[in-house]
Symmetry: C2
Subunit: 127 residues, 2 copies
């Protein structure tokens, strides 16, 4: 017999379990990828991920993704975007607005990429 | 300079682009995984994916995932579940209810696994 956890994940419920910002929480894993939730506010650090594409899916608020060519992608709830590997980006929110988002990326991905920052979380918590 | 498509994906809008059932559409790719949308109704075929975990995230309706041990996982909108590789399962809906869902799985995954069925779609369309 296989071991099969019968645990489904309710995304809103998972969002209700934490309040800390810039600290992605793992809610599911598959094929070496992790599905994470995060609450963010303000400007993150510029960074890239040399070998990993990163999916952003917004649940609440407006997420801005700035790129070094001066362009910005703006994501509303229900919208998603894949930042290709090697592309430097900076997640950012409106002043005073907390944004809730889902991330999908390989298990080894650090959210600040190769950039070490006071915001870097070395090991993401599972919730 | 890198090539960076500035295309964000609006999930509701993508759902509005198709009506055919049991025919997953690719809306994004990352790290060898594909994000797909599907509309389903009725009973699918029993199948497994020998080497691929599969994520189901429900947007509309109630999705049932039956397992060979007799158990069923029931997913409402905003709920997700990962079917581990090698685990036989049967997606199913209530009578007469169309269910909208998002799938995440490796690019090589066939939605009917190794089972050939009249429902098998060999190559998923990108929308």
């Amino acid at each position: 017999m296989y071991y099969l956890p019968r645990m489904k994940v309710n995304i809103e419920e998972k969002f209700s379990l934490f309040t800390d910002q810039w600290s992605p929480k793992i809610i599911a894993e598959l094929n070496g990828q992790q599905l994470k939730l995060a609450k963010i506010q303000g400007d993150f650090v510029w960074h890239d991920h040399a070998n990993e594409d990163e999916l952003f899916l917004v649940y609440r608020g407006t997420l801005f993704l700035d790129f070094r060519d001066g362009s910005t992608v703006s994501l509303e709830p229900g919208e998603c975007y894949v930042v290709p590997k090697g592309v430097e980006h900076r997640p950012r929110t409106k002043d005073g607005e907390e944004v809730w988002l889902m991330l999908m990326e390989p298990a080894e991905t650090k959210h600040t990429g190769d950039v070490k920052s006071e915001l870097t979380v070395e090991v993401c918590e599972r919730i």
